[in-house]
Subunit: 277 residues, 3 copies
């Protein structure tokens, strides 16, 4: 038994309508030996940033291959949809998707852009390309072609690597006094857990360690809160707030069996300050 | 690397209960080299028509293979469940499922019925066949057997091709004046978008083109509405109605970021009239 | 075409966050030729019993292979998460998961425990093992290693088979008079159907047969109810209660097109008595 090439697949299509299955079909026709790993199709509609983060964090755990992602930003207008691109990264991973920032964090994680092509007029496209479903008609056949061995320049026309769309993400850092960490909410999951743009190493650098109580300031006009830096939810009682390293190895805020987003009144991009007791 | 036979799989089982996974297991035991493409398992319970449409439209994008579908119509009574069938189509595709109309549009798309068998008493069935889960005990092992190379007549007993259950679908056409298109709602998706039984070519034949405003009449006692014929949702502002070609290449009505079904008060099989400005 | 080893995969991760896809990635890196069958990832969070039952009942329909399951019980505390184990069963099936009872019914169905190892310090673990996602960092690479041919003692250190965590389940039996069956609700599905810890054979032993009306006693202080023992939901009218053999070959109570749990006011572990008319 030998193993075929791998295509990972992430989208906001959902699983109700058969869109994901149809793309699998297109891939199976274009590259019968490819194996498809569904990363997630439950990204919230138009949430390019959430899709970008899931893809970038998964990449380190995926085999070398082609990574197909499609989350549209809902901005197209009569100019038509954004261009679609295929990209070769520094470490050899290849990415296929819309050029709307979705691929950016994954590119950074994979060694940056080495080469990029615009897929407009791709010889692999199923004609006519549906304006409402380019995933099926353009992205999937291109991913299959690349998995089957086609060189990047065979699936589109070369573009300047520096023209690929970036994605702005917040950036955590020390506060003015240097005694606290100013971080931001990167994403909120379905349980109301808040992922921060900060890592445990940043707290360790402040002299804190797992098990400590830390001071959380959500609003400079309100009283700060004491929070346990735990290993998991289970380190605090039901209803209590905890700071912990989440599966993505980022710091996150959660309430055991409840929503930290609701408790703290925080959403994406909001700022928090974490400091010693 | 060579590729095994393909089985596509569509159902209304949902993904919560392990039913889909168990069928994958039965297939893997019956035909270890088969590759299964999950088309959708999110068809609404008993919605035979929705399942039939998803299957039929997907078929053109799927490899040649065996297509397993199971959506029951909720009508069985003490006579027991409807018979199950396996079918060879004119283009070589093979279909396996209940004989309740679910397979009919796919059959039509695949060149009609060439041969059909009733699966009652199939030598491939896992005995005893559960009255409440024939998908696992009958349909899945038959699909695996066909994928593994068995001839149709080895999995059931031949029946008259003309006895296979049809599915009644609405049919669009010109109105009495010949100046407008009378269409019907084929399906409503989870966003409230309304798919019509009409294609862009039918509007073009009326002298209309993408970008035009058209007149939409939903109820002959109410005032008609002006609607943009756009390429995508994004061609109109938030909250505005748009007529566009959907991923299935059918005409559809949507409201950008809202529900066209709610706005227009329309559901499956309701009639609309589209005419020039 | 030959077929690779099979890994089945069950969890309570859900499909929204990419956790399942990442585990597929880890498996594909560890054992590229493995084929993964997703059994279900929709087990309710922390519902170890529901996961255990889905896994145990699926096992008879799955190929010989490695069965990866992860449903945490939400009990960990500062002692850290429960130990993870890999197990070889009497029939050759191998199981990988947390040692919290999740694997117990599957083990019993597969001939009992022949050998078991604790995965702490496994040479296959991705270091550091995330406290909040051991599925990715420990269970998935171990499952891949076993599928790839590693012996059990290569993935962890041996433990006493008798130390593996059991799972307490209710047990049905005859009532004191010997004229009725006392059963319990094993699980409630999303439709409100109630699965009992009893089989049709137990009713047959009481002289009852499919088609009979039986007497259902839910609460000894309330009047008993007459219920049809049918083959499927469709044997009774909409809104009527029916006793039938469910897909798991267990007796179940359902209301055609409504919730038996709501109608009868019953939940997991509640007791019912079934007797002749």
């Amino acid at each position: 038994v030998s193993a075929g090439p791998v295509i990972s697949f992430l989208s906001d299509y959902g699983l109700a309508d058969g869109f994901v299955g149809v793309c699998h079909g297109v891939i199976a026709r274009g590259c019968p030996e490819a194996r498809v790993i569904d990363l997630s199709h439950g990204i919230a509609s138009h949430d390019v940033r959430a899709g970008a983060l899931v893809l970038a964090r998964a990449l380190a755990f995926l085999p070398m291959g082609v990574h197909l992602a499609d989350v549209t930003d809902g901005v197209g207008g009569i100019r038509g949809p954004r261009r679609a691109v295929a990209i070769t990264c520094g470490d050899g991973q290849r990415l296929v998707g819309p050029d709307n920032g979705l691929l950016w964090p994954a590119m950074q994680a994979a060694g940056g852009v080495v080469a990029a092509v615009d897929l407009a007029g791709s010889p692999l496209a199923l004609a006519p390309v549906s304006a409402t479903f380019p995933g099926r008609d353009l992205l999937a056949p291109v991913a299959a072609g690349l998995a089957g061995g086609l060189a990047l320049e065979r699936v589109g026309h070369p573009i300047d690597a520096s023209s690929v769309q970036t994605l702005a993400l917040p950036e955590s850092g020390l506060d003015l006094d240097g005694g606290g960490l100013v971080a931001h909410v990167l994403s909120v999951d379905r349980f109301g857990n808040l992922e921060l743009d900060a890592t445990p190493a940043q707290l360790t650098a402040l002299g804190l360690q797992v098990g400590d109580e830390v001071t959380l300031t959500v609003d400079e006009h309100a009283a700060p809160t004491r929070v346990r830096w735990g290993r998991t939810f289970a380190d605090v009682g039901a209803g209590e707030l905890v700071l912990f390293e989440d599966p993505q190895r980022q710091l996150a805020l959660a309430v055991n069996r409840a929503s930290a987003a609701a408790r703290l009144g925080l959403g994406v991009d909001d700022t928090v300050r974490v400091s010693g007791p």
